[in-house]
């Protein structure tokens, strides 16, 4: 029941966002685009506009992008067994198979 409700909720949110996004279209003034493509070399000393935007104009974006990897690894630490437990598991498996037991 809870799973069905959450699936319904997610589907409703998905359709709402898609419909709203399709009904309204917005074109931005290309002010920032013009400014960045013309002035990035004087502003940041990068010869590459992507590096200029990534490391100077939009540094906040890059900082939080780097945090995503940490979040992923925290999730892995939460759900995967730790290296110590892994060692115990493999030792138990070796005992079950009948290999050498005395390996630490």
């Amino acid at each position: 029941m809870r799973i069905a409700l959450s699936a319904l909720f997610i589907a409703a949110v998905f359709t709402t966002v898609t419909v709203v996004n399709a009904r309204y279209s917005e074109t931005l003034d290309p002010f920032l685009y013009d400014y960045m493509t013309e002035n990035f070399e004087e502003d940041t000393a990068a010869h590459n506009a992507i590096a200029a935007i990534l490391l100077n104009y939009r540094m906040y974006d890059t900082m939080f992008e780097a945090l995503i990897l940490l979040t992923a690894i925290i999730g892995m630490n939460q759900f995967l067994p730790s290296p110590v437990e892994l060692k115990e598991l493999s030792a138990r498996k070796q005992v079950a198979v009948g290999d050498k037991v005395g390996k630490e």
Partner: protein, 134 residues
């Protein structure tokens, strides 16, 4: 995963320095050529993958790797807060390129360590068997 083939062992051993060189080339030239921290870091992480493929022994301490990754991430969050947002980089224009290189190196090392930790954890988890704990 067979680790017995000496051909793959020798070839990957020969490729090691070139992978390192390519990774640091992509990282350090990030603000002149296409590439940068994230791409170069992924190349550095392929070093861990190549090592796992030829020699699947868990002697890299993934906890230590994760600790150094978090340390570099703290540096990565601290450096622009001190250097960029206070306007120090724009006050001294001759150091702007060094700032970009520093940030690229931080991002590259952080991404390389992080992807290495992820790959090693999943690889050695898969090697144990079916037991899963939630």
């Amino acid at each position: 995963m067979s680790s017995e083939s000496s051909i793959t062992r020798v070839i990957v051993g020969l490729l090691y320095p070139f992978i390192l060189l390519l990774g640091f080339y992509v990282i350090i030239n990030g603000h002149y050529t296409p590439g940068g921290g994230f791409q170069g870091g992924s190349i550095l992480a392929s070093l861990f993958i190549a090592r796992y493929v030829v020699f699947p022994v868990e002697d890299i301490d993934s906890e230590m790797l994760h600790l150094s990754q978090r340390f570099v991430l703290a540096l990565l969050l601290l450096a622009p807060t001190v250097l960029l947002f206070t306007g120090a980089v724009h006050a001294y224009p001759e150091y702007r390129a060094s700032y970009l290189t520093l940030m690229d190196i931080f991002i590259g090392v952080q991404v390389g360590y992080g992807l290495g930790v992820a790959v090693l954890r999943f690889a050695f988890f898969r090697g144990v068997g079916e037991s899963w704990r939630f």
